[in-house]
Symmetry: C2
Subunit: 148 residues, 2 copies
């Protein structure tokens, strides 16, 4: 029986560059696995072999225990590109709830983060959101909820 | 300040088909928005306009309040294909924690779900996992954790 969401995996081209980005957002490295080569993962993933560098990034103070499984593959190498648009079929956006979206955006912008729109937008009554992309082009959304 | 993970968005080609798949896994429709056309979303997503059918799928009994924002776009239409492999750059895998992976896999297989491997595999000490794809090819992972 499914108990809960556990993580989302983001495959990246440069692990340290992606770690810096998610740390800028406020996530913390909660575990560094180093090089992972488990044969069972190759079988489960239908790959001839597995060699990847893995880090878990989470929010230790958050209610959920969700985390990002951040992976840089070396065998096979990480390949391809992230979805170019938000209408692409697939798992194409990761959303975080924020407490004060205007202040958060100002702080992140001062840290060099770019957003897809100038200001947070209304997504409907009580919801304000803004989008950015991570260093590989993954869409990341911030959402402030003033009523539920 | 980022407070917590809130949701992941899956863009699909056929909303009802995807709902049936995630309900088979045990998720529940927690909210049906019907057609969403908020102009703010178009601005935030850098799209000329927005017309999409949106459903939230969650796990009401779970500790986290994470959910899947399941979206079928009609304007523009959902387009493209999900990542073909697990080494593709991007947000490419969604993982759920399960309580008894062998029993869960048996029940899902009896419901017509196919997996990438015959049996759950060891992902390392205390971790057993298995992968499947949703109707659009999104990689979904089940993970049983016998120690943390």
């Amino acid at each position: 029986v499914i108990e809960d969401f556990q993580h989302v995996c983001i495959t990246c081209r440069d692990l340290e560059r992606s770690i810096r980005f998610y740390e800028t957002l406020g996530l913390k490295v909660v575990k560094r696995f180093g090089e992972v080569t488990a044969a069972g993962i190759a079988t489960a993933f239908k790959l001839p072999s597995v060699r990847m560098n893995v880090v878990h990034l989470g929010l230790p103070a958050a209610a959920s225990s969700m985390f990002i499984d951040l992976v840089q593959w070396s065998e096979p190498q990480s390949t391809g590109d992230a979805y170019p648009t938000l209408i692409n079929i697939g798992l194409n956006r990761l959303a975080f709830r924020v407490s004060d979206i205007d202040a958060t955006v100002a702080v992140l912008r001062a840290s060099g983060v770019s957003f897809l729109s100038g200001e947070p937008q209304s997504f409907g009554p009580g919801y304000r959101g803004i989008l950015m992309t991570d260093p590989d082009g993954v869409f990341v959304q911030l959402l402030e909820i003033s009523q539920s």
